[in-house]
């Protein structure tokens, strides 16, 4: 944070050059953390508002909120642990984490262990009424694996070899393939974006980057043509173009989401007052469509604040990537930037009717335990990259 300069408090003991400057707590990126916590608090309120109307008359109206707060607590703990990891340790264990993520991705296919939610067979049942979404863990694993492969044995001066690039692409393609079989289209799109971003930032020759983007677009087109995407996936992916015309379920969702957000106006209906939210017109509005809740109940002011908070998170992540002192740290941070930005754009964009409807949560805001945990782990990794630089600065 040299650009911002350090405020020297009178009486403060000057730090000794060559050692860690300020210690763990001082070197953390607090702007990033405050933005993340603010999003989490806002998200909890929105989850509460969205879930109140869904519950049976004899159940606790806060039961969903309580579960949400438990997962937030666990997620913060995991993020804290992740911020303490050393590069060497991290790189050594990355293959193990990657392997575990692949195994977890395969478990939902085993009978009795998996759950299908909104057509995606992507959940593992966990005792205690919780469920685990392995594709969220895969996001962290793919970023770490690709960063490790692309930054291996290199100073910052040589470009990655074709072999390294192919290996990195392969390490992303395997989980993408499995997730495609689980019908989790949204995650596939995000992982694709992450892979392209990492190859690009790693300094791969331009032909690779252009070729990769071209392949992704071509792959999407071919998949639609050949019918690899099942009918409902296409419906979900295309219904956003013309929502008012047919009353299929995806179009219905897009339409109701837009009515909710549009109706919010500048100031919104007020918390717990949104007719679309409280009347349950918008489906899964505690998770995939949570943006409709802030849009309807807190209006433009509230939803713009939410987007700006996410923008602060992305800005801090970009700064961390920019300042990272080696390629590995930069790639990890860039991967997180690509992940968060694309997931935000996809999630908010589908609520606003400019992106296809897919089942992915809004980082830090949506209910959903695994997503909350993986995003907090990502924040912890960003802090690790930042702390690594701080510790090696003269």
């Amino acid at each position: 944070m040299t650009s911002l300069g350090r405020v020297v408090i009178p009486g403060e003991v000057p730090t000794v050059p060559g050692r860690r400057r300020g210690g763990y707590w001082r070197d953390l990126d607090w702007v990033l953390l405050i933005a993340v916590f603010a999003l989490t608090i806002l998200g909890s309120v929105l989850v509460w508002s969205a879930s109140r109307a869904d519950l049976a008359s004899d159940s606790d109206p806060q039961s969903y909120l309580k579960r949400h707060l438990i997962t937030v607590g666990v997620a913060i703990g995991l993020g804290f642990l992740a911020s303490h990891l050393q590069y060497r340790w991290l790189q050594a264990w990355t293959p193990v984490l990657y392997g575990a993520a692949i195994v977890l991705l395969l478990i939902p296919f085993l009978p009795g262990l998996g759950t299908t939610i909104s057509g995606a067979r992507a959940w593992i049942n966990v005792p205690g009424g919780f469920s685990l979404q392995p594709s969220e863990i895969a996001k962290v694993a793919v970023i770490l694996m690709m960063a490790a492969l692309l930054a291996e044995r290199r100073d910052n001066e040589t470009e990655p070899t074709s072999r390294e690039i192919l290996l990195a692409i392969g390490s992303a393609a395997l989980p993408i393939g499995i997730i495609l079989l689980q019908n989790d289209t949204g995650t596939v799109l995000i992982l694709g974006a992450v892979a392209v971003a990492l190859i690009a930032v790693a300094g791969a020759p331009t032909r690779w980057v252009v070729g990769l983007i071209g392949t992704a677009i071509l792959g999407l087109l071919v998949a639609v043509q050949v019918g690899l995407l099942r009918e409902y996936q296409i419906e979900r992916l295309t219904s956003f173009i013309n929502p008012a015309e047919d009353a299929g379920n995806s179009a219905y969702n897009a339409n109701q989401a837009r009515i909710a957000i549009g109706g919010g106006g500048l100031y919104g209906y007020g918390l717990f007052e949104g007719p679309q939210t409280q009347g349950n017109f918008v489906p899964v509005n505690e998770s995939d469509f949570i943006f409709t809740v802030v849009g309807e109940e807190l209006g433009f002011l509230g939803s713009a604040l939410l987007i700006l908070l996410l923008a602060v998170v992305l800005w801090r992540a970009c700064v961390i990537a920019w300042r990272a002192d080696d390629m590995y740290g930069r790639l990890v941070a860039s991967g997180v930037v690509a992940w968060f930005s694309f997931q935000m754009f996809e999630n908010v964009g589908m609520a606003l009717g400019i992106m296809p409807i897919t089942g992915i949560p809004l980082p830090f805001v949506s209910a959903g335990g695994t997503s909350m945990m993986s995003t907090y782990i990502a924040v912890g990794l960003l802090q690790t990259v930042r702390l690594h630089r701080a510790s090696t600065l003269p």
Partner: protein, 712 residues
Amino acid sequence: MRERSNLRLLILMVLVGSLVVTLLGRLYYLQVMTGETYRVAAANNTVREVVEPAVRGLILDQVGRPLVSNRTSLVVTVDRLALQRQADGGDGVIQRLSRILDIPAEKIADRLKTCGSEGAKPPPVCWNGSPYQPIPIARDIDAQVALSIMERRSDFAGTSARLEAIREYPAPFDVNAAHLLGYLGPVTEEQLDEQGGTTAWDRLRRTDTVGRSGLESYYDEELRGKPAVTTLAVDTAGRVTGTIDQRPPSPGNYLVSSIDARLQSVVEKELVAAVQRAQEQGYPGDSGAAVVIDVRNGRILAMASYPTYDPAIWVGGVTQKQYDRLVASDSLASNAMQGLFAPGSTYKVISTVAAGKDGFSLYGDYNCPRKLKLGTQTFRNYESAGYGRISLRRAIEVSCNTVFYGIADAMWERAGGDKATVSSPDPIASAARMFGLGEPTGIDLPEESAGRVASREFKIANWETKKDTWCRNAVEGYPETRKRDPKLADYFTALDKENCADGFRWREGDALNAAIGQGDTAVTPLQMAMVYAAIANGGTVYEPRLIKGIVSGDGAVVEEFRPVVKSTVKAPRSALRFLRESLPGVTTDGSARVPFAGFPLDAIPVASKTGSAQVTGSEVSTSWFAAYAPADKPRYAVVMMVTQGGTGSKTSGPGVRAIFEALFGVRGSDIDPRRSVLFEGRPQDALPRVRSDGTPVIPRSAGTGLPEARQE
């Protein structure tokens, strides 16, 4: 190389920035620039719920025999609003329905009127539900009739025929149990008001049918389950625009009762026999009740009330004639837990505990004269028998009133006589309350009576409510009665004058009456059964329970009910022990000797107490018989009573004996536990198994209690 990476990262940053700007721009467009149109759209959004009620759970007896089950029935319903839209107001449809269903047209018209509206017949003929709800007008119709109605939709506007699950009473061993099981009816306005404005999908709706009495009402939520609800979004034109929500039904749970159908059937028959015995003696014998309790846990094994009615009468709504007959017969309320009666001499166990607690010698001798004179009043023994100086045990055996009068009189004097205050000790009333009298037992049935304990508090409260009337009558002097019978009017006036002046006072006569369970004391037969169960088990007053567990429709155990201790009798152990020693003597050498003559009392000693309570306004006493057995290892407490039935020994005693014979498998003087009406000779603690398809497993040797043809 570093530069290339920097450039790429810069491009990524610009891309990220443009994504944020795109979202903000789109958001501004949707919310600020075009927001108003969406507000209108939101207002036009309405929902419609399609509700399919869950199948109601069964009620099983203690070994799994269904007491209440379901069957499907073809029902014809009429939507009144659709009828009113017809040019002729629906008269044509009603005429055609009358012809095809063979029901008089006026009956259909009466059924279609909402209760309380103009020209509506009183319930149950009028429609007691919501006017927006299709009204069932005929059940169990022929499939052919249903088909022709559905095919000729234009002739039968607003009419539909559909399959509906309705309650069925298989009646194993011909049990009746109407007061225990209860019945269903449309949900009431009060219930809807009570749940408030909740929009939860499992809320009560106007179209719901709920339990209105008995177990059906007490465990309504368990039995009802949760409906399948599909919530559709509907636009202003009524078009369905999408499905908001879909909830699968969860079928109602099964109640497993502690009632044994076979025993219940025996108890019901014996109660009717007791009533007939009363009538054969020339007494009215107008009502009665019988209760069998498992003394070790407070479970009710059988509970009968006379008169009773056919529970199936409610299915599909009763006719006016049936309803009038029901009300006239006084058979709707359960005498066993709602009827209040003077307990008579069965109450002497309470007085005995009070005496023991108050320092009277339980093993001393007491005078048993033929009568006791108090001022103008004379208090007599039954049939004015005198026994001289006898032990307290003997006084219980022969049910000597005057011994207990003497004890109560001494207690009354000790408390201060006429000058006593409300807080002065009243050992008999306190003993009664220790046994749970004067308050509901806590049985799992709605609308139980609390009963009352004769006491100073009661007299004062009673005087407060009645003094105005008494004092006015004392001044006016019953002018109406005076025209016909001046003497009677004088008597009434004098009585009211006295009551007006000091009707709050606990007089000596009140104290004496209280000692033998007469006067203001009123109990339910169930309360009395719980008193004898507490004596039998050493002083634990349980909350009586009709349900021992809840099982889901696919066989999983939802809940098992443990016995609930309501209170323990805080009396010297010696007093309870004394009672347990003395009560068997009532059966061998006392007032219950005759009905138990020939019963194998050596093997199965029976502790008992008779009661023949005098009731003001009736010449004939209330017949009571309370007992438990085996007296040395108590298991079952049985109470039977018949109003205006004569003596306890003659009318109720033989009934209680027959119930014990059924329980223990006694025939003549021969005992064979295998002959017991209870499966394996005892109440089953375990819940019966229910197969995953919802059919309960009944042990073969227990028997279904149904005729062969109906077992299919």
